[in-house]
Subunit: 372 residues, 2 copies
């Protein structure tokens, strides 16, 4: 066996994530590892919590990063909030809504599914109807920004309806955090998870997570133990809590947390509103260029995510061949379609550091040349 | 809020992990992120699998790294192999055996616990007795190298006994992998997990994992779904498998996997036997020095881990004060006691890159000065 160091090329990442990583984040990642109970590291984690609270626009004391990717953040919400027998409304308009349903059932919960067509947002009317029909539902779960289709749902309205029926909300903000407005406190969302590798432009592997007091209350009233030891947030809190002595739960991913800290410092320095505007600007540039190429969006303008542009592959074009040409010739990655859109759509990400005119220009010119 | 980049100091890490990280691993960590479905990344993962097989001394096709810390690797073993009602023998001689018991119960399994005193290895006789008494047990779970006490158990013998009673084995090799002999195929271990941040001297956050064919068979014969979606290894395998097209499960922690690849290249270049010998040598040097200081080991010589030295805190010495002095004056971290040994012992790690004479010398001189 002769295996040597792996030296990756420099790609421009315009798929559904990982996004282009800030150079400063890669630098932060390689800083010297210190102990996960080192007082300086604990101080860094306190800052990280504040930075996450800013990104989520929340004052929730329970605001942390799960030591694993977004799917584990999703699972952390479900295993902590859903007890066997609990009835959960799951809104499904793409791959990640379906994954939520899987999570509910693996927790022993009962999933009531509201389906919306792929590429459309979750319909508040259908949600309200389902809650009227099922008064025993106590949680509503939905995806804010569907990474598989590029559709943005109206989290504020959905949460209002959920509250009207005395339900908690579980919200997938993997692709929305940092890219479009997400106001956890103002919208009164209860359990919200995200990913490090989308609009935060941090490396993949961590999942920002925040729980409202109502979510914490439900966890504290559980009759059964959380089925996952690793994701039992009442245990995790013993480590992340600022009060008194930190108790060991698992070894924190020290360097990955440096990277997330740095990405959030950059977001804070730029300002959330400026970051949202930058994503919109890049999207407008991309949209104008794609229209000239005759390429159509999957999602209607009103609910289109600026950071994740799902577009139909033009007729007669070989999906894999084009993506391969972009990768080989231009070191440019765009995303394939997922689930129902596999082979039918591409997903062009303009996330975080990737939401820049130079990325848009490269993508447009490379597509134009390749599609000729 | 004024929060700036976090610049950690350079510590010498001689606790129970994270260990001192190879400088080359930190370099690898900061290489450009590429997509987790990029053909070059898939090639890197194929190499990583081979390197992990070497480290584990196995030909198991199912040999991967879980995208989360060692505790998640532990949970991956239990949630995949234990079904509700399964009876599992759990050997408990420290913190991590107790965590195994928790895992069994959270999976709906029934844990039969064999207790051994903290600081002693698991007794093969007690295990055999328990298996005789409970013929319906089908899994034996034990910790190879107890990080909380520094005791090494005889994995080969324990696995022989388990096979005699037709049981699979789940083995915690978090602290043993790369530090002491661990021969997965020769000893016929079935489900073995480890951590990146101990004797591999990679950054924390990943958990190497290998399943034997017998373990895979048990998973394929499950009557119930694995309760964790994130840790369902039949789904994960769709991404890690070398056959045909990789299917998306979750976004791999790309840069962390670069780091693990690099750490394993370094281990392979050195050679496992040489690495084991280096750990023994460093331990002998440390032992000689500690004896001169009158410091006693917790574990008897025969089952003492070279890479994790649990020693009693001398009478009249303030635990926290000494560790704080070592950290502040020498930038040296040693570990506190855990569980039953909290406040009574220190844990001095000589793991991976940290198993070097210069680390031993620093630790001995710093302790000598501080204890005076």
């Amino acid at each position: 066996m002769t295996i040597t160091s792996f030296i990756p090329p420099h790609r421009t990442l315009m798929g559904p994530g990982p996004s282009d990583i800030y150079p400063q984040v890669l630098q932060a990642l390689s800083r010297p590892t210190i102990g996960h109970l080192d007082p300086l590291f604990i101080g860094m984690m306190d800052e990280l919590k504040q930075l996450l609270q800013y990104a989520f626009q929340t004052k929730n004391p329970f605001t942390i990063a799960v030591s694993a990717p977004g799917s584990a953040g999703m699972e952390a919400c479900f295993v902590n909030l859903v007890e066997p027998g609990d009835k959960v409304l799951v809104c499904r308009n793409g791959v990640f809504g379906e994954r939520m349903r899987e999570n509910v059932e693996r927790c022993g919960g009962i999933a009531v599914v509201v389906d919306n067509e792929w590429g459309t947002p979750v319909s508040p009317d259908l949600v309200e109807q389902a809650l009227q029909d099922n008064p025993d539902i106590n949680i509503v779960a939905f995806v804010h920004a569907e990474t598989s289709t590029g559709a943005l749902s109206d989290a504020k309205t959905l949460a209002e309806i959920a509250r009207k029926y005395d339900c908690l909300t579980i919200v997938d903000a993997v692709t929305s955090l940092g890219g479009v407005p997400l106001l956890v406190d103002e919208w009164q969302l209860d359990a919200v998870y995200s990913g490090s590798q989308k609009c935060l432009s941090c490396t993949p592997g961590l999942s920002p997570l925040t729980f409202s007091q109502k979510a914490i209350d439900k966890i504290q009233q559980r009759k059964t133990k959380v089925q996952s030891w690793f994701l039992d947030q009442s245990l995790v809190l013993g480590y992340w809590s600022g009060e008194g002595k930190r108790s060991y739960h698992h070894t924190a991913p020290v360097n990955s947390l440096y990277a997330l800290h740095e990405a959030l410092v950059l977001l804070h320095n730029e300002g959330l509103e400026n970051a949202w505007q930058r994503h919109r600007n890049a999207h407008e540039e991309l949209k104008a260029g794609l229209e000239k190429l005759g390429i159509q969006f999957v999602v209607e303008e009103a609910s289109r995510l600026p950071q994740l542009n799902a577009v139909y592959i033009p007729d007669g074009v070989d999906d894999a061949e084009v993506r391969n040409e972009l990768l080989q010739r231009y070191n440019l990655e765009i995303g394939a379609g997922l689930g129902a859109l596999a082979g039918k759509a591409w997903r062009i990400g303009l996330m975080g550091y990737g939401a820049r005119s130079e990325n848009v220009a490269l993508c447009l010119k490379a597509l134009e040349t390749t599609l000729k």
